[in-house]
Symmetry: C2
Subunit: 210 residues, 2 copies
């Protein structure tokens, strides 16, 4: 699951991201403070320049469900979704670029860049589906942290610190379980030193596997 | 969940699909017979012209998991995925168009069309995630059938016949449960006339809801 992820962040797609960012002056970038809701429209997408956006919906049984964690160089927005409700919140401070569908259709360079950004969004959504397919909840939570470490991790002492804060409730909403179950399993993962908490950030032991 | 789905199949995206299909002569279309595996490559995507493709992977606990049901005007392929393994099989007879990444980057009209095709693929994947977020397995199975009816259904007597055949094992692999559980719940859904089986196709009662 993990080896191919880095490959997908190819130099080629980096090139298109630079095109995207150069096309816009920095004063078009919208800052969304931590915890705030992002306003959405049927006529434009948001490109994440900095930070992580949490996409959520309500299930038919009334539970909150997180459908995606969209980060740098990825897109989200109403035009991508058929979920109802479809809501986006900033997890930490975020910078976003609005990109209208009309612009995408009129500007070939932009359309290729956005195609690549959507490929990345799709990949993380597919990976969440794959993690949700794991039956055992402890393995599901471990897989989530391995995935987060790969996406948002950076070396820190003899571990990998994860630069995204998720509450136990958010982990439960991501993995279709209860907060109580997450808290119980997370305690075990801390005891076994799979994860430690340092300055309210999770640190994963290096070379951890399931 | 259901009302917005039809809207997304806009006339506009239909226009781009026609562009795509006209760009290729029909002799480039590859026919994949029912049940056969589709060959994949890092350098091209497949556009589905006819039929439904099942995308599957193995979870860390060794279970088969279905990550997507990709149908007409949608794309799939190795370049979209970071799942490993990533395998594609035809559910029924399929016609597919290969589209190379190089072509997409060189041809603006193609890139917009493929962007729209990927939007549709993304929408169905997000919807599967949303269905998997439902805790109760009976409601999860009902939601799956409402979704399938909307995507693959056509009017038939006083119901909606679903033109895609899924075994109980495939439903289990889609929803992260066991075949035994699916069989038990499906028997109940047939008894309550939520679903009937006619000539080995599922027929959903019209105006069914959860």
């Amino acid at each position: 699951m993990t080896s191919s992820f880095q490959e997908s962040l190819s130099e080629e797609s980096q090139f298109y991201v630079e095109i995207l960012e150069n096309m816009y002056h920095s004063n078009h970038i919208v800052n969304i403070p931590s915890g705030e809701k992002v306003s959405l429209s049927k006529s434009y997408l948001w490109l994440v320049v900095r930070g992580v956006i949490k996409i959520q919906t309500l299930t038919l049984d009334g539970e909150l469900s997180i459908l995606g964690l969209v980060s740098r160089d990825e897109v989200f927005g109403q035009p991508l979704s058929i979920s109802n409700p479809y809501e986006a919140y900033a997890l930490g401070n975020c910078d976003l670029l609005p990109i209208s569908l009309i612009e995408i259709e009129q500007n070939p360079t932009l359309s290729i860049s956005i195609f690549n950004a959507l490929r990345k969004t799709y990949q993380q959504t597919e990976m969440l589906l794959s993690i949700k397919a794991i039956r055992g909840m402890e393995d599901r939570i471990k897989s989530l942290f391995l995935f987060l470490a790969e996406r948002y991790g950076r070396d820190y002492k003899d571990g990998i610190v994860i630069d995204i804060r998720l509450t136990h409730q958010e982990i439960a909403n991501l993995l279709t379980t209860t907060r109580v179950t997450v808290t119980r399993i997370m305690s075990g993962l801390k005891e076994s030193k799979f994860l430690i908490l340092e300055r309210s950030k999770y640190v994963l032991k290096k070379h951890s596997t399931i």
